[in-house]
Structure formats: C-alpha cells, structure tokens
Symmetry: C2
Subunit: 500 residues, 2 copies
Amino acid sequence: MTTQEALQTFRAKIEALHALNHAMGVLQYDGETVAPPASAEGRGKTLEYLSGLAYEIETGPELNRAADFLAAHSDELSAQDRREVEVFRRETEFTASIPQAEYVGYVTLLNRASAVWHKAKAENDYASFAPVVQEIFDTNVRFARYYKPDQAPYDVALGRYERGLTMQKADAFFAALRERIVPLLKQVQSRPQVDDSFIWNKTYPIEAQRKFSDYLMDLITIDRERCSIGETEHPFTTNFNKKDVRITTHYHEQTPIYSMYSVIHEGGHALYELHSGDELEGTLLAGGVSMSIHESQSRFMENIIGRSRGFVQVILPKLHELFPEQLGDVTAEQLYLAVNKAEPSLIRTEADELTYALHVMVRYEIEKGLFDGSIRAEDLPRIWNAKYKEYLGIDVPDDRRGVLQDSHWSGGNVGYFPSYALGSAYGAQMLAEMKKTVDVDAAVASGDLRPVTRWLEDHVWRFGAMYDPMDLLERAVGAPFDPKYYTDYLEEKFGSIYNL
Amino acid sequence: MTTQEALQTFRAKIEALHALNHAMGVLQYDGETVAPPASAEGRGKTLEYLSGLAYEIETGPELNRAADFLAAHSDELSAQDRREVEVFRRETEFTASIPQAEYVGYVTLLNRASAVWHKAKAENDYASFAPVVQEIFDTNVRFARYYKPDQAPYDVALGRYERGLTMQKADAFFAALRERIVPLLKQVQSRPQVDDSFIWNKTYPIEAQRKFSDYLMDLITIDRERCSIGETEHPFTTNFNKKDVRITTHYHEQTPIYSMYSVIHEGGHALYELHSGDELEGTLLAGGVSMSIHESQSRFMENIIGRSRGFVQVILPKLHELFPEQLGDVTAEQLYLAVNKAEPSLIRTEADELTYALHVMVRYEIEKGLFDGSIRAEDLPRIWNAKYKEYLGIDVPDDRRGVLQDSHWSGGNVGYFPSYALGSAYGAQMLAEMKKTVDVDAAVASGDLRPVTRWLEDHVWRFGAMYDPMDLLERAVGAPFDPKYYTDYLEEKFGSIYNL
C-alpha cells in the first residue's frame, strides 16, 4: 500500500460513512419534525440496518488498515490529513470497543426513547419514561466501561463531549460559578423587580412569529439558501453538511420572546456549522469541534448579542410592525429590562442569563448520580424537584415542567448539559478578547453584525475540528480558559440593570 | 440450499432493500418539503451511495440465487411468497438490465432535476429546465431499450406503471373518451354557466385552511397516527410502510377549494397505502399495485365522493365556521355547482372532472413524441400551448402555468400521466359495482363514509400487490374494464348539472 492508495481508501470510506450518517440524520430530523407518530417502529428498523452498515465500515479492516498505515506515515501527510486520521482513530477506538449488536441496539433504543419522551411529556407521565432513562444511562455506563475500564464512567461521557473534561474539573468550574452567582442572585432579588408584565396576557399569532424568525435569521447573517427553520417540541440544530443546516423553534402564542431567543440560540449553532472552512468539507473535521465550543457560539449570539441594549434597539421596529396591538408602545429600555429580568423559573430554555447556570447544575448533579448508581431513574422527579427548591427556590408543579422538559436524555445526550455552562463561560472570555479589536456595541447597535461574525469566523468557525476544544479556545483568546470572565460579565451586566 | 434457507435469505435481503428505499424516500421527501435549497448537492451524493448499495443487493448473487431457487420450487411456497418472488424477479429483470453506473446516475439526475424544476417554475424559466427534461426522457428511452430491445420504448414505460398497457390500448382508451367528452363539453359550454364568483376576490387565511385539512382527513377516515400532512409546491403522497404515510398540499390564499380537493385526492392515495393487508407488511406486496389503481382510489375520493351533493352538504358547516366572512351565506347547492363548474382551464390539478381527461391527453401525446423523438424538449412550450388551444380552447399565458406546472417529469414519472385518466375510469366502474351493495349516496350524506371505505378496503386496498392491476380490477368489479362506465357517469352528472 502506498500513502496515496491509503488516502484514497480512507477518503472513500469516510464518504460512505458520511452518506450513512446523512441518511440517519435526516431520518431522525424527519422523526422529530413531521413524521406521523406511529412511524417510530419502521424508522427504528431502518436506523438499525443503516447503523449496522456504518459500524461495519467504521470498524472494518479496509478503513482501519488504511488509517493505521497513514498514522504510521504521518510525516508524509498534510496537517489536515494528519489531524483527520487522528480524529478518526480516536473516535473509532470508542466504537470498536462496543460489540456491534449493542451499538446497533442503542441506536434503536434512542429512536424508541424519542417517541416515548414526546408522549410522556405531552401526557405529563414520567412513569412511562423512567425505564427508558434508566436503560439509556445503564447503556452509557456499560459503553464507558468497554472503552475505558479504568476511568469513572461519567468522566468518559464528559470527555466524549469535551475532550479533557472530568468531574473534578466540572466540580471546580461549577463551584466557581456558584460562589459568585448565588450571592449575586440574592442581591438582585433584594432590589426592585423588573416589570415585564406588558408582554403577557396577550396573544401573538404564530404566523407573525414565523415572519419574525425569518427577520431574525437574516439579521444574524444566516444564509437561508443553506439553512431552514422547522418547528418542534424542543428547539435544536442539526446539520448534514455546510450547505444543509436546520434549526427548529417552538412557538408559544402567549409570548414571542421564547421563540425569539431559541431562534437566535440555534442560529448561533447554525452559523458555526455554516462557516466551517471549505477545505474541510466532506472530511471528519467539518463542523463544530465540541458541544462546549458549540454552546459558546449559540449562547454568545443568544445572550451577549441578543440580550444586549443595541440588539433590542435594532429589533424593536420589527416587533412594533408585527405586533402593533401587543407591543406598539413598548420602548427599547422596557424591552431590554424585560428580556434580562433575572428570576428563578422552571424551564431551562426560557431562563434568564443569570439563573441559567443553576438549571445546568441541577442536571449535572443528577447525571453524576445516575452514572455512579446513587440515583435511580424512578426517583428522578423527587430529586429534580428538591434540587430546584434548593438552588432556585421554586416548587415544580408537574413533571412536564420538571424532569420531562428536556429532550437530551431521550436523545442519548448524556454528559452534554455541562457544555451549556462551559460554553457560556467560553463566550464571555471570547467577548473580552474580541473587544480589543472590534467595537462590539457599535456593530450591534448599527444592525450590521458582520464585524462580530467575522471575528467569530476567523477565530472559531473556520477551523472546524482542526484543534481540540481547549486548544481552539486558547488560540482564539490567547490565554487559558478562566471562568472569571463569565462571572465578571454577569456581575457587571446585572449590577447595572439592578443598580447594585 | 433448502427452501427454508432460500426464504430466509430472500426475506433478509428484501428487508435490507426496504431499509435503503425507506432512507432514500425520506431524503427525497425532506428535499421536497423542508430542506434548504442548497442542500440538493449533498443529498445527491448520499442518494448516489445508497442507490448503489440497493442496486448491488437487488442484482447481487445472494438474493437472486435465492429467488431463482424459490421460483424453481414454487410449488412448496405459499401463494403470497410465490407472488412476491414473481414480482421481485420481474422488477429485478428491469434493474439488472441497466448498468450500475447508469442506474445510480439516473437517481442523482432526478435529485438535480427536482431542484432545477422548482427554480424554473418559480422563475418561469423553462429554458433552464429543457435540457434536464431531454436527459430524463433520453435516459428512459435508453433504459427501455436495455430492458426490452424489441418493444417501443414508450410501451415499455407505460407497462412499468400499468402492466399490460401499451400505446395501442391507451390510444383506443383516449379515443373513446374524446368521442364522448368533447361533444359533452361543447353542450355544457352552450348552456348558462355556473356562478362560482362568490368564492373569489376574498382572502382565506392559511391557518384556517390548515384546520380544514385536518377536518377533511378525519372525515375521509384517515388515521392521523399513521399519516401526516406537509406543504409543497405540488401535492403528492409518499409512504414508507403502512404506519408512515405522508400527504402534502399547497395552500392558495385566494381559495380553499384547490387545497381541499388536493387533500381529498392525496387522502385517497393514503387510504390505499394505510389499508394494505397486515400480512403483506414488509414484503414487496405491501401498498398499491399500480399507478392507475392508485389514481382510481384518489380520484374516486376526490370526485365521486368529494364532488358529490352529499359530501358538499356535510362539509358546509365546517366551511361556514372556518370562513364565516368569506362563505357564511353560501348554500350547499351553490357550493355543489361551483365545485363542479365545467370550464377549460390552465392547471390540471385544479381542473374540473369533465375537462380533466383533456389535460391528461395533452401530456400523453407529448410523452409519445418525446419517446419516439418526434418532439424535442426545447420545443415543448410551443407544442404544449398549441395542444391546450386545440383540446381546451385556451391560451397559455406563461410556462409556469403551462409546461412547467407538473412535477412528474422532473421526478422521473414518465409514462405516469395516462394513469390519471385510466384511474378515473376504473373508479367509475367500481362505483357502479359498489352501488349494488352499498347505498353510497346515503353513506356520504350521513358524514360516515365507512360503508364506502369498507367496500374499497375489501375489494381493493387489502390486496396490496397480490394481483396484477387488471386482475385486481376484474376481481373487484366482476367484469373486464370498460371505459363506458366513466363516460356514462360524466354524461349523467354533467347532464343534470347543466340541464342537458
């Protein structure tokens, strides 16, 4: 075998995997968006077949012999090829550690879990979902043991979302947040509260909200030729290549605000995928490198940009136009305060920027317990509700607005939640660095976000998965990760809003 | 090899083909409905890979050796297994006659063609579409020659949609229609015209039309757990198994009538797929047997049921409720006459029952010419417009409302159009037979369509592809096909409406 031949084999097999993943991704997207409810069973069979094919290719001798050969001749490779081979071998080491039947079984379990979760949430019936949650976590524990028998299973799961992340690091990170956020929230709660009552007790037609989504996607510079928007119970972003990215939202007739920030959040994810370097297209390096870096982009757009004074000023005329009777006399300052009202609440995706990390902490601690066996899925409602009382001081009235609210566990995204808080912190550090060369406030207030998106494209998006997440962050901000940028940012912003 | 082993191999490979076809179908459905415009290229690559896999399995030695063995031991098989092996071998004879690269190339051509057609129609730019049309017809001619070198290529194409159909038979059928429909239309046009002006110059909000679609689907007994509705430029039905059927419609703000009849039409297709026998599920025999039988069901629901007096009476209260300002004072008789107004028009899918067959005739004659080379794709607008002038007496103002209106050719459905007229005629013959045991008018007027749908399920739907189309029809109506039931039906209905 020559290096050229090995590269050709490698390329062809990666393309085959890409095609299978594309097909499975579209089947799943279709299942989440428009497929009829009873379709889950047939989709499960097809996913089982396709994932079996993918497993065979990924762990098969042809691809792995080529990859091993390339790894042994890495000095003959370009930096990009070298990195791709490395990423492939790292990933396939995990896949190959799992017996094929279990690997395929997990794909069908998740397909079933998604249908069970949708029904359970709609019917506020956690009991029907509990066995599925337990099975998903048990499977993840088992897979972690196959892969790294010497490591704590949750460390393995965390590390698969964010290379290098462990419980020790996450504990320290959350402790640093808690130490500053909990007293800050107490101070905020002792001050006169923000009035957002003008938003409520009105009806905001879905058709007008759909138009608002189109406007927002344009504003944050999303290319609609390459990115569509759909409607789902729980908003998400998925992508098949850089010319085919999908975001979804959920419209509430009672307020346009929830959907608005979900569009901007998912839009941040989409921008990252849409601007991965052309030279990476079709390789394993195209698209976002990790969930934390991904969340750094989505939460940057949602909060740092979307909940800024300048942004609110820019979008106000469009809100006046689309909702003249509901919001016609609202001022920019009123709206700015309303979308930054800090108040413990039930739903993570609707939480304000300040209390958000506390929602994530609840989930992190529960995942830890499910992984080490100290928590059983059947006990989750009780534990969930107790933690919401402890950290946020509120009572959870039902599981639909409690433990059933998120789609992550039914989607197999266990170990994902810490990414949201980490990403928020990465974003704050990026903002500090960006401000050295970009007048961020002026750009946002002008309505032309391109100075901001250009910085993100140059420092983050275009690199895809060329660097490990921590390396990418350090390259972007010129220093190691430090959560104090995030807590400083929160103290400054909410100190000003609440006159602390 | 034992018969049992051969059956197991056969079953496993058919399931693999089913999974690949399911994935390709969902990719195509997604592409037609919600995928962003620029996604076509990536989808094309994935379809190319999957169709290559399917080709290899379908024409590969394992499956074909098993099928040949089973065919040689057909006396040991159940009637259903025997039929399935026969259908497989017939179908695969076609596939195997085409070189793999050309087979796969056609799948990617069609994926591209769909994107080109959408754009061409939106921009009224036939010139951009013409080379694609020519390539699609050329490919079909070439494939027909590979498969049956001794037959006229268009006969081969017709026979693949409707086993046994040839140009000779289609010519005779259309001549029989023309002989009765053309004079009938002349008589109708000599009479005072129906007034449908009360429908027009109003706005019918899409949200209310969506609710109306849900109501109609319930009324015609569609199980929404197993059938969803989407929105596309051109309405269609697709299905992946009997628990996953999709219909689409297109809403026009100027009238709810077009969407209404497309929902009932596609609903008729969906009912056929949803009620294929349980014992056929997962086999090649599940679902409709041919396009003409399929159209017999869709056009039966649309016209014989949906455009009847009883049906119009039943739906009127819902129309009053959803469109109180627009249609609040319309009577059932006014609406019945309006939806049966016979008048030459531009768009096939919006045509009345009487002129419909003339739209189909135009397409049939053009397909004949494209197949025998006497017509070139670049000349289609001129020829199309001339035929509309000749048969329907109207001028076509632009290609968007002319030759670009249908999605069939870009979808590779060449030889399909005659099915619409044949299906309409089959449906009329079924009605005559059904009336011997079912009081159709009373059932429809009661709003409970189950006596009608039960007859169709018992006589047509449950059999899937167990019988060839002509055999199925003869079993259902107890006599050979005779187009006079259709022309009699039209003469009686329109004779009464126009007092002839």
